[in-house]
């Protein structure tokens, strides 16, 4: 296994994944995997948007939307960018779309995938895995 980072760096490096999916893996030298992860998470996110899924607010009155919002926060900058440009607005037409549920699933899954990537990057940075 490669030399592990100092503990504080091992906690900071995974945060790069919040900026761009896979960026922490790129920083750790796992270039091919970083590119694959970036593509997978981004495609999942964009598919969710295309299927009229919602980007939930963590302050939503609906507890299920709040939970979804917490999962989607894992997307980091993609979540912030999406909400900033007005994607996933939960308009009446979107919610009436038969694909709305699928879109939500894609978006929540993308967020959870990115969280897993952060944990994987931590394990690599801490020397627990290669």
């Amino acid at each position: 296994m490669s030399e592990p980072f100092p503990r504080w760096k091992a906690y900071v490096v995974p945060l790069l994944t919040l900026a761009v999916p896979g960026l922490a893996h790129w920083f750790l030298g796992k270039r091919a995997r970083a590119a694959a992860f970036c593509g997978i998470v981004t495609i999942t996110f964009l598919s969710g948007i295309a299927l009229h899924g919602g980007l939930f607010a963590v302050t939503s009155p609906n507890w299920l939307f709040r939970l979804g919002g917490v999962a989607q926060l894992g997307l980091g900058s993609l979540y912030i960018l999406g909400r900033a440009v007005g994607w996933g607005q939960l308009g009446l037409l979107d919610m009436a779309d038969v694909m709305f549920g699928y879109g939500n699933t894609f978006l929540v899954t993308a967020g959870l995938m990115n969280m897993l990537l952060m944990m994987d990057a931590f394990d690599i940075a801490a020397g627990r895995k290669e």
């Binding site: 995997r33 992860f37 998470v41 495609i43 038969v98 899954t109 290669e130």
Partner: protein
Amino acid sequence: MIQDHFLTLVLFSVLVALFFATLSHRDRPGFLKSMGKTLGWMVLGSLALAFLMLWTGR
């Protein structure tokens, strides 16, 4: 409409299978085996569940 549902199912299964195979395998045979198993179970399991819901809903 059915085609949309099925294509969405396949797309989601492919993305999830690809993600977990990339995360847990660095060798090609392991990657392909993991991807195939995950994809197969997700697609077949989803179809089985969908038909079960259809039949029990009648």
